[in-house]
Symmetry: C2
Subunit: 223 residues, 2 copies
Amino acid sequence: MEHGRDAVTLRAIAREVGITAPALYRYYDSREDLLRRLAEDICTDLAAELEAELDRIDADDVSAQVYAVCRGFRRWALAHPQEFTLVFASTEDALGSCGPDDRGQVGDQFGRVFLEVAGRLIASHPLPDDLGDDVPEDLHADLAVFQQVLLATVNDRGVEVDESVLPLGAVYHVTQSWVRIYGHVALEVFGRFPFAVSNPEPMFDSMLAQILGEMGFRHLTRP
Amino acid sequence: MEHGRDAVTLRAIAREVGITAPALYRYYDSREDLLRRLAEDICTDLAAELEAELDRIDADDVSAQVYAVCRGFRRWALAHPQEFTLVFASTEDALGSCGPDDRGQVGDQFGRVFLEVAGRLIASHPLPDDLGDDVPEDLHADLAVFQQVLLATVNDRGVEVDESVLPLGAVYHVTQSWVRIYGHVALEVFGRFPFAVSNPEPMFDSMLAQILGEMGFRHLTRP
DNA sequence: CAACTACGTAAACACCGTTCACTCGACCGT
DNA sequence: ACGGTCGAGTGAACGGTGTTTACGTAGTTG
């Protein structure tokens, strides 16, 4: 992957494994299938990396966990731009949308880690009343589904919460936060900011601070 | 492009033009060079499309212009996902960062249209005092450069403004807005929202409303 | 009219995804 | 112990790709 998606060649892989190219067809239906499963593996690796970082953090300091996951995601994306492009910036028909399930989650394993932290974040803290005040009517149904997914993800880790602490406005805010985090990381990876940012890291951190601030976390130490 | 970047083949192009593949080397140094210049052409087309939409809008209604450009960008991206991927989601080493100039602007022509509207927006309206209150110190230098670019872009269209109406906080807010707009569009094109959004359009519109709201435009008609 | 240039071609090379016929060794039931 | 079956791998082949090279061939210029 280091040299881009086009460099992921059946013959190159076969050479590295010590077999011939047609032998790969015993394990993969086609090159596209191989790339799809490679993307899944990359997701799993990224998730493991983030989870390892999470383990080094106080289990009660949720905002520190948010920082760790988001910064870890950015750091990983900048260190592995080609992998990021494959997993997070490929059209679905070129990758099969990461999983045969109908709903196209964000890279299965990676999404789990992210949702878990997001769920714990809004569950661990009294939220401002005006958060996500005007969530559009048309999104209520979709957000309600996502709300249940978040609840299930959090409950899987032992913490019991009901939907009263996970209002739709907060769910909407989490979605908007993902838009901003993903947007910043992708723009940085692809060099598509409207001007040359000489040091994007403080910009990312201040965005995280603002996102957390809107959720009621103010005056944080930024670990 | 319709069938993806990989389908942009020297021989296919030559076939369509009625010559043979090696003849293309009279005009392009390599396939990569061709793709780079194709990306520039796509940017120009997109810019022309947006500008055509702008011409159908009252020249004084700046917020309507913002809606038109942002919605046009989203509509174009969804209608041309492969082109969007090539121009807005490709690593720089695979495309040369859109232009030989040192500073990697967002697709030259397209960026111009966007900056123009953004500049007119913040110049046409008294901004809230708390806008972009805590812009990180480390970004002051970069933002100042961007501020000058915005001023130059606006002045090029006849409107004379000085930097007093274009405070750094507003410039920072424009950058954050681009992060959100780009993030939403890219997530939608790539199907990487954390849950299945059955109708993303109101979500996009409400994001635009919020962005404009933060700049002091409240209770807008959404054309 | 000779020389030069722009434009295009055919052939070739190395590589690619994919298919097909084939071999080889391990395993299994009798 | 033996024939049969099956998974894993191979080599050859096909059509397609980017790219280079040598060659042609009109049109322009001195």
